[in-house]
């Protein structure tokens, strides 16, 4: 069997799994949100719930007067067409709301992940094999980066670098300078996590026999760690990085609020507090899609980086 076909079959299996996952996410959110206290009419109408005729108007315009299964079917068909419906609260189409907020969040997330990766790589490469004292200090710093509340770190950065030193704007989303503080805030816990893994992996790999071979060829310690060890470390680190998506999303909610940035995080937070089901569903589906895409990409990347994985796939 050719490895191309093998790859294709893997992708097909992945896709089927992804569709199943998306369907489950869509169904769970739909059912979950309908089970929340407070009817849809009361979310839409608020204080006007008892106004004569309005509740009926809302029910029929949203199709709430039809059987539950029919509503569910319509909802799924809508999703297939990319129609997420209309926000109950924002008086706008969900696609417009979410579409406008997607890019700022993607930008922030991507910038933070790149920064976190670079930071972690730098720390890991520079420090692997250092003495136990350095190890311990780094370990504490990493733990701090992971554990300190994002809100607190963001506020502190804002206080120091924006309010006092005036290096960066404290709020907004105008250009790169306004991205710096949110990016650092969001990157720190991820960098801490990645650096921890990378250093451990490097330490483990350094004990492998082939390392001696490389050394005996005269490679410097730095070159060894930054070039020869990288493929080995990269795979496990990538997997860990893929699993930080949750951190990233949770962090974005807070970072976007603290730094007054537009984005999905804020929209999601508002949608959940306001019981705005259509927006919540859209956000959940976007996150699920992102998760599927990222894990697939990482699996494929691992196949490319490590020939052994391709071998195992045959067996």
């Amino acid at each position: 069997m050719t490895s191309g076909l093998q790859l294709l079959r893997g992708v097909a299996r992945r896709l089927a799994g992804a569709v199943l996952l998306l369907w489950a996410a869509a169904t769970l959110t739909f059912v979950g949100l309908r089970a929340l206290p407070g009817s849809v009419e009361s979310v839409v109408l608020g204080v006007h719930l008892n106004d004569p005729g309005l509740a009926e108007q809302v029910r029929s315009s949203l199709g709430l007067d039809r059987p539950f299964l029919v509503q569910y079917g319509d909802y799924l068909l809508g999703l297939l067409r990319g129609d997420f419906g209309r926000s109950y609260v924002l008086n706008a189409d969900v696609t417009d709301v979410v579409g406008a907020q997607l890019l700022p969040t993607l930008g922030l997330a991507a910038a933070s992940v790149v920064l976190a990766g670079a930071l972690a790589w730098l720390i890991a490469v520079l420090s692997a094999g250092a003495g136990p004292g350095t190890e311990r200090v780094l370990h504490v710093l990493e733990l701090l980066a992971i554990c300190l509340p994002t809100f607190w770190v963001g506020s502190l950065l804002q206080l120091g670098l924006s309010f006092h030193l005036q290096w960066f704007p404290s709020v907004g989303a105008d250009g790169f300078s306004s991205l710096v503080l949110p990016m650092i805030t969001l990157a720190l816990p991820i960098a801490g996590l990645l650096s921890q893994y990378m250093r451990e992996e490097i330490a483990l790999t350094l004990r492998q026999p082939w390392v001696l071979t490389v050394r005996s060829r005269g490679a410097s310690g730095f070159r060894l760690r930054s070039v020869h060890l990288m493929p080995h470390v990269a795979i496990s680190t990538l997997t860990v990085a893929g699993n930080t998506l949750g951190l990233l999303i949770g962090g974005a909610v807070i970072v976007e609020s603290v730094f007054g940035r537009p984005g999905l995080g804020r929209v999601a937070l508002d949608a959940v507090t306001d019981s705005d089901a259509p927006v919540t569903v859209a956000v959940v589906l976007i996150i699920t899609t992102a998760y599927v895409l990222i894990t697939t990409a990482i699996d494929l990347a691992a196949l490319i980086i490590d020939p052994r994985l391709r071998q195992e796939a045959h067996g």
């Binding site: 407070g38 008086n91 005036q166 704007p169 609020s257 984005g263």
Partner: protein, 547 residues
């Protein structure tokens, strides 16, 4: 000029640091400078506000604070002065018939919307007719409840009422009934998200809006119809105004202190002392002319045993509000005596000192009502049931330490009288469903700058008691009198009666603190003030930046 200023600073301040700070902040930053009292045109100013407007279309904008932003591009028919009188704005003059049932407005004929459309009587009619049609679901349909018909003829607008309405001009002066281009008005709630279609006639024009971040206004260069009583006419001073939405209190104040924004509204009481310590920041507390923040208690039998007025009064008198408010707000907020704000003409001054903090009398009344035994936690009981009052406040509305205030009352009520206050903060969706079903006990809140009489009818006859048999009929009847009378004395008497009934006689509303809006501004920003039709910060028409 600069040398003199430096010397002044050096002599009045012992701290070199302060002198340095004053120097570095530039030549024109002192609000007291003679040169800076003459407005200059140009520049752009940025506000930081706590919340993003829920809607930019006047008819559907239910959040009072949002009006400060909407006012920048929306004008009203008449202008409300600080003393509560009305002066011309889009209407250059008006007449009222003797029976008070017909208003004839003559509109200015030089007014255009920012998209070029003409603002005539037909445009005003289209706006008012849309809002008052209850099928459209505007919160403000009730403001026009007395309107029978509206006729438009060129620049003459005739509003015929089914009965006299003492609050009509007040309603028309508010942003809620502001006028937008009628071509798009049928889009209804679609106008909530600002786009090209939403056009007003105000001193600024909507330029761009980024959900979750900011809204930007540009000067309306054609503007020539400002209310006559304002200090200038023609276009506004500023070229551009930005409102940034910053939910975090500390971020807003930090952005102001570091000069990244020129003004903030929604100033937390505890930040005021820190802000005003700096000479570079001016702080203004708005008029207490709206309904106060307090506890609305359900008086119907669904809320037993609290349908007993003696129990409600006992709770009302079980805490020392003066001390609590002082301790929490450090003198930055005033305790309230009535449902009506103390700066309103309608405020009944006799309520001052007439209720509250009568712990002994409260305990006697509770004993007499049969709640004389105590359980292991010290709460009063009767037939094994604890005397408990459920206070529910939607989490989103909790701000400005109102939760701390309620917790202090909770504590005092327990210590002083053994009443349990069960305080929770559910979501608005859950809470509003409970209220609609009549299944509520105590709701903390303020109802904003409203027409008091109409608000009584909407709130106490409709909203809170929509599902109950029992209604506070006496207050509602008085409110009807107040709305329909054309006699000022009769109006005042009815309003006094309402306050006495709700607060003193029935304890259906327990006033806590005056509800005001605040502005803190950098000293380079001048001319900020309040919109007296709503009590919120005004548009930026008068605002200017010193160079």
């Amino acid at each position: 000029m600069r040398t003199i200023r430096r010397l002044t600073v050096a002599t009045t301040s012992l701290l070199t640091v302060a002198a340095l700070a004053a120097c570095s902040s530039g030549s024109g930053s002192g609000a007291q400078d003679a040169a800076s009292t003459t407005p200059v045109s140009g520049g752009s100013a940025t506000w930081a506000v706590a919340a993003e407007p829920s809607c930019f279309a006047p008819a559907f904008d239910d959040v009072l604070a949002d009006r400060a932003i909407t006012r920048n591009f929306v004008d009203s028919l008449v202008y409300q002065e600080q003393d509560g009188t009305f002066s011309p704005w889009l209407a250059s003059q008006w007449q009222t018939s003797d029976d008070g049932a017909t208003y004839t407005f003559s509109l200015r004929n030089d007014v255009k919307f920012s998209n070029g459309a003409v603002l005539d009587a037909a445009a005003v009619k289209a706006n008012l007719d849309y809002t008052r049609d209850s099928a459209h679901g505007s919160s403000y349909a009730g403001l026009l409840g007395s309107v029978k018909s509206i006729k438009a003829d060129g620049s003459t607008l005739t509003i015929t009422l089914s009965q006299a309405d003492s609050s009509l001009l007040s309603s028309l002066s508010s942003v809620a009934l502001g006028i937008i281009d009628p071509a798009s008005i049928k889009d209804g709630k679609d106008l909530c998200t600002p786009g090209k279609k939403l056009a007003g006639s105000g001193p600024f024009v909507l330029d761009s809006y980024t959900r979750g971040s900011q809204v930007v206004f540009k000067q309306n260069t054609d503007y020539a119809w400002a209310p006559q009583s304002l200090s200038h006419d023609g276009p506004a001073y500023l070229d551009e105004v930005t409102y940034k939405f910053i939910a975090e209190d500390s971020t807003r104040t930090g952005a102001l202190q570091s000069g990244q924004v020129q003004a903030i509204s929604g100033v937390p009481a505890l930040s005021v002392a820190g802000l005003t310590r700096s000479d570079d920041i001016t702080y203004t507390d708005g008029p207490a002319s709206s309904s106060t923040f307090g506890l609305t208690v359900n008086g119907s039998s669904e809320n037993a045993p609290w349908d007993n007025v003696e129990l409600r009064k006992a709770f009302r008198d079980s805490f020392d509000l003066d001390t609590i408010v002082k301790a929490i707000y450090k003198g930055q907020k005033t305790r309230a005596w009535s449902w009506v704000g103390k700066d309103s003409a309608e405020f009944d001054t006799t309520l001052k000192g007439s209720w509250g903090n009568h712990v002994d009398a409260a305990n006697t009344a509770l004993d007499a009502a049969g709640w004389s035994t105590r359980d292991s936690e010290g709460f009063r009981t009767k037939d094994g049931q604890r005397l408990s009052l459920k206070v529910t406040y939607d989490a989103d509305s909790v701000r400005d330490q109102r939760d701390t205030l309620i917790e202090a009352i909770q504590d005092a009520a327990k210590q002083n009288t053994g009443i349990e206050v069960d305080f929770t903060t559910p979501t608005w969706a859950a809470l509003s469903a409970d209220i609609a079903a009549g299944n509520w006990s105590v709701y903390p809140g303020s109802y904003g700058k409203v027409d008091y009489a109409n608000s009584v009818i909407g709130t106490w006859a409709g909203y809170f008691y929509g599902a109950s048999q029992w209604k506070p009929t006496e207050a509602v009847d008085l409110a009807q009198d107040a709305v329909t009378t054309t006699d000022a004395d009769q109006y005042a008497k009815a309003l006094d009666g309402i306050q006495q009934y709700l607060v003193n006689d029935q304890a259906l509303f327990i006033p806590l603190v005056e509800s005001t809006f605040q502005i803190a501004a950098g000293s380079a920003l001048h001319g900020t003030g309040f919109d007296y039709s709503s009590g919120v910060p005004d548009s930026n028409y008068n605002v200017w930046l010193s160079k």
